[in-house]
């Protein structure tokens, strides 16, 4: 996967929340949506050579601010009229994980670009380093998408747990097992380093 493809994927991932807001028909949401789209395009098309820069955080920041001013403590405290219509709140909140993935891929694209420059200046064979970078991009994309599905799956699993009604002690045992597994994995990792 080349760097341009990675940027395009990151752009596509960052667009949906903006598109939903822009198509909501509610003026503050349209403004927030269009602003998010503009920043998403900027972040996707021009990834900085220094690994992304501040631009790549802006789509997420716009959405986070819009969400913070639309529901929860701040909105209730100051009585601000919400930016995100209530029917889209959960959808936008859920789609923000795609924006985070877009940021991750955009940063990977920026790193890939800076490494290509470094390889070229060091005199490496162009075909060879491009192949290495392509492999790097593909692996980063696989990792990103893998983690996306894992996080969604984990969220669903956590949401469904109360439905299972497993009781206090089985829950403590399950927690203990999961805790031990994670602890062991991290401990063995530390020993290797």
């Amino acid at each position: 996967m080349n760097r341009q493809m990675l940027s395009l994927v990151s752009l596509i991932l960052m667009m949906p929340p903006g598109l939903i807001l822009a198509g909501s028909g509610y003026p503050p949401a349209i403004i927030a949506g269009i602003t998010e789209i503009i920043f998403a395009v900027a972040a996707g098309i021009i990834p900085s050579e220094k690994g992304g820069g501040f631009t790549i955080f802006l789509p997420f920041l716009i959405l986070a601010v819009a969400m913070a001013l639309s529901q929860g403590y701040l909105q209730r405290l100051f009585g601000i009229s919400p930016i995100v219509p209530s029917i889209y709140e959960n959808t936008v909140a859920f789609l923000m994980v795609f924006v985070v993935l877009g940021i991750f891929l955009s940063m990977t694209s920026g790193t890939s670009k800076s490494m290509a420059i470094s390889f070229r200046q060091s005199g490496f064979d162009e075909k060879e380093y491009k192949s290495a970078l392509s492999s790097f991009n593909s692996n980063a994309a696989i990792l990103g998408f893998g983690m996306l599905f894992l996080s969604i799956a984990a969220y669903i699993a956590v949401s469904l747990l109360p439905e299972l009604n497993i009781g206090f002690f089985p829950a403590v045992i399950a927690f203990g097992v999961v805790y031990l597994l994670i602890f062991r994995a991290i401990f063995s990792q530390k020993r290797q380093i």
């Binding site: 690994g51 790549i56 955080f57 639309s70 909140a93 490496f124 492999s135 692996n139 696989i142 990792l143």
Partner: protein, 434 residues
């Protein structure tokens, strides 16, 4: 590179913190997916970010001729780790890349990987070169652990032989205008039944060789013994100058390199004729760590010659003082060898050379100086294309004042740029009679 990845890690932490803050402020549980994504990504990168198990080997021939392209194959294998490997097979300065590259970039992802690289390079000068390791640098994906520089043993040595053919010695034997002593007779081979002379008895001589008639004629004052010729024809010893004037020119083309090429070709031709050949170097400084070969013939001696010549390097010091291993003088005297002193007469060495030649002549009456002219070599590299017009006469005129200072000695001047190696072989053959 590590910095870039560390920035990515910081950025992910920042996004995670922002997601968490937003989730708390908005009380929207769907934002948990963003926090989980960041947490899982960091854990995944952290678990992948460990020191990789990496192995790399290099395959190349053990021998090659100068300027011929040599194929190098590098095979790398990695079983763990997640990041970039930069691999390099360091080539000595005397090598020139012809095709491909000796540095490579690899990315090791989730799966085990093996990579094969091929490139071609040529050794531009003779020598024995150690290509015993491959350097690598591992850049872990996340940069939590620092980059790792490593060196892996490959255990390889590459001999670059001069590119030349062996001249035939006995095709045409011309008679020299210079008067030379009788060919040296070997004193190292097994004793034959051919009578050579009568001489005084020396400790170690066999009683069977005592010539009683000659002893009686001598009034029994000294025991006289018959001396018989030894098998194995003559002995010729090459004495190679390694001093500063021998380095005039480039690393690939200088009097020393031409001198070595000559010795390579000439000695092999002589050994084919069953002539004993030996080799010593004249050097400055204390100790005698230089290469030497005792006079002998046969394939084993050819191998010794090759090894010694490939390991002979010039001396960097401009201060010239000739010293030779004391064994050299003993061997020259014992074997009555013809000494072929290969040098390049110039302002830095002519005075010391005069002294040294006088010393050698005390041990051997059969010394020939091969003067490799360096002016043509220099002209070739300064004004390429006109070296053919810069003939031997001009070169000799330039060094005439130094040559005049030398003691009277048989000398062959060789301009390697305008005269082929065969010319020198013929001239040496004519003068020495070997």
């Amino acid at each position: 590179m590590v910095k870039e990845w560390s920035k990515s890690l910081l950025a992910m932490i920042l996004v995670g913190a922002l997601s968490g803050t937003t989730a708390i402020i908005t009380t929207n549980r769907f934002l948990a997916t963003s926090i989980l994504f960041v947490a899982f990504t960091i854990i995944a990168l952290y678990s992948l970010d460990r020191e990789g198990k990496f192995s790399v080997g290099a395959v190349f021939p053990s021998k090659a001729k100068a300027e011929d392209p040599i194929e190098f194959t590098m095979q790398a294998r990695s079983e763990s780790g997640f990041g970039f490997y930069l691999v390099e097979l360091p080539l000595p300065e005397a090598f020139l890349l012809r095709e491909g590259s000796n540095i490579h970039a690899i990315f090791k992802g989730f799966r085990k990987g093996s990579w094969k690289f091929t490139f071609r390079a040529a050794g531009m000068r003779r020598g024995t070169f150690l290509l015993d390791h491959v350097n690598y640098t591992y850049y872990p994906a996340l940069g939590v652990i620092n980059k790792k520089d490593g060196k892996l043993e490959t255990g390889g040595e590459l001999e670059i032989l001069p590119k030349l053919s062996i001249p035939k010695l006995r095709v045409k034997r011309l008679k020299s205008e210079q008067v030379s002593p009788k060919n040296s007779i070997s004193r190292t081979g097994p004793i034959s039944s051919d009578f050579e002379s009568v001489r005084e008895y020396q400790a170690g001589d066999s009683y069977r060789n005592i010539n009683w008639k000659a002893t009686a004629r001598n009034s029994f004052s000294n025991l006289m013994v018959n001396q018989y010729e030894r098998e194995g024809e003559k002995t010729l010893i090459y004495l190679l100058d390694r001093s500063f004037p021998m380095s005039r020119g480039t690393a690939e083309e200088n009097p020393l390199e031409y001198g070595i090429s000559f010795i390579f070709a000439h000695s092999r031709a002589l050994m084919k004729e069953n002539i004993n050949t030996g080799f010593w170097t004249a050097q400055s400084g204390r100790g005698f760590s230089s290469q030497s070969v005792m006079p002998s013939s046969g394939i084993e001696n050819e191998y010794r010659f090759r090894k010694a010549l490939l390991r002979t390097e010039p001396l960097a010091s401009k201060y010239v003082v000739y010293q030779v291993d004391p064994k050299f003088f003993t061997v020259v005297r014992e074997t009555r060898a013809t000494v072929l002193f290969i040098t390049s007469v110039w302002k830095e060495n002519y005075e010391e050379l005069s002294r040294f030649i006088r010393r050698i002549r005390k041990y051997s009456g059969n010394v020939l100086l091969v003067n490799v002219l360096s002016s043509g070599i220099i002209m070739k590299h300064i004004l390429s294309g006109i070296e053919a017009f810069y003939g031997k006469k001009t070169a000799l005129r330039n060094s005439s004042r130094f040559l005049e200072e030398l003691p009277r000695i048989r000398r062959v001047d060789w301009d390697p740029i305008n005269e082929p190696l065969g010319y020198l072989v013929g001239s040496v053959s004519m003068v020495t009679g070997i």
